[in-house]
Amino acid sequence: MSQYKLVRCNINGKDVERMVDVRASLTDMLRNDYRLTSVKKGCEVGECGACNVLIDGEAFNSCIYLAVWADGKHIRTLEGLMGPNGELSDIQQAFIDETAIQCGFCTPGFIMSAVEVLESGELYSREELRKRLSGHLCRCTGYENILNAVEKTMKRRHGIPVD
């Protein structure tokens, strides 16, 4: 017997509601009900970070977050970073410029953690950034270019010149 619950939330700035199967993870809901396919299904046990989204401003692995818990929350996915005319955000452009992407599977999760870092207003050291991004696995890039992209974007937002 299926059990459903009405989940009202705000996704990428828009108030939405949907009847959701209580067995669904937030990844299931975002992908299947809202077609937000930047939210990747990776390990599905909270290890790899591919499904990472922001909930009320904090990073969560949506694969181990029950969809029904999203009721009343503000959720942001990579799709929400797009400008009004389809422009990329600075952090997305930096990932391209720094070759911080190869296959792209980990990228949306990484970028949403980077958004939390950037919006905190903190100026983190390289070592702190490494820790802030440690909840993501990337099998392509070796991480250095990802760190470069996040560090340079953070510095630009603080008005610090970067080469």
Partner: protein, 296 residues
């Protein structure tokens, strides 16, 4: 989709108690970073869940009427680390839980879940033992409080009475325990992130007003036995002693008569004993330094 039989969502503590009594077989889920993973792996598949995650009254850190530090059981690790009361009175706890998993795990994982799991490797557990934390449980007969050492019964088993509808509602640190006390936690693991401790060691000291002697020293380990444990022989050596290198060495070596680590795929017993001594030494030195003492 998770393979769950049914989900019951508690909106208040009394709601949770009622649901527990109505569904004695159901598993309580707080943040779910253990329960949902185990359900995915099949270990808890097909079970009923009672979610307490929505009970906001169980979030946050405060000072209660007896000046004890009160940590709501659903307070996440990241909120504990950032909390000004934690930073002021028991900073070592914030540092310890900042070593759990990854940033995302620290946003969802709760101190209540960490302790109710009953696992010896929980990063909060050794510090809570070293500060003689009190666990608050609320059930149909009201509130029950017990020392954390009595809360842990054996590996994976804690004293929560499901038949009384109990859930853990807070962890308390008495004033006598945190006042003028400075601590340090060391986690030994193979890698920094997404790692379970091979061994965890938490030490804290309160120095005499002239900062020449240790008034009180407490040390506790995770993964040095089936449940987190104190090292009373080591504490006895440090208590009342002057701050000397000889004392630190004797303190560190004496932990071997208290702990009982095992061989596992993560580390051998011999290796755990070896690092236990070194971790005790380093954590004691760091605690003394944080308290403003100088080792002669």
């Amino acid at each position: 989709m998770y393979d769950m039989k049914a989900l019951y969502e508690a909106e208040s503590v009394s709601d949770a108690i009622r649901l527990r009594l109505e569904h004695p077989e159901a598993q309580i889920i707080a943040g779910g970073s253990d329960v949902l993973v185990q359900m995915r792996e099949g270990k808890r598949a097909g079970k009923e869940l009672i979610s307490i995650y929505g009970i906001n009254a169980l979030r946050g850190v405060s000072i209660d009427g007896d000046e004890a530090l009160r940590i709501g059981s659903l307070t996440s690790f990241s909120h504990i680390t950032r909390d000004p009361l934690i930073q002021r009175y028991i900073n070592v706890l914030g540092e310890a839980v900042d070593q759990v998993g990854s940033p995302q795990i620290r946003n969802i994982g709760t101190i209540g879940g960490n302790t109710c799991n009953g696992v010896t490797s929980a990063d909060s557990a050794s510090t809570l033992h070293a500060y003689e934390a009190i666990v608050e449980l609320t059930g149909k007969n009201g509130v029950r409080r017990l020392p954390i050492k009595d809360f842990y019964i054996k590996a994976g088993v804690v004293d929560i009475r499901a038949e009384e509808g109990e859930i853990q509602t807070a962890i308390l640190i008495p004033k006598a325990s945190y006042e003028n006390t400075f601590g340090h936690y060391i986690k030994y693991g193979m890698r920094n992130a997404m790692e379970i401790a091979s061994l965890g060691c938490s030490v804290n000291v309160r120095l005499s007003p002239d900062k020449k002697t240790i008034e009180r020293c407490r040390i506790a380990y995770g993964v040095a036995g089936p449940v987190p444990m104190r090292a009373p022989s080591a504490e006895a050596i440090a208590n009342g002693s002057a701050l000397t290198e000889e004392m630190v060495t004797e303190f560190a070596l004496s932990v071997l008569s208290d702990i009982n680590p095992r061989d596992s795929w993560r580390a051998s017993k011999a290796f755990r004993q070896h690092i236990a001594v070194e971790m005790a030494r380093r954590a004691l030195i760091a605690s003394i330094e944080k308290a403003g003492g100088v080792i002669a």
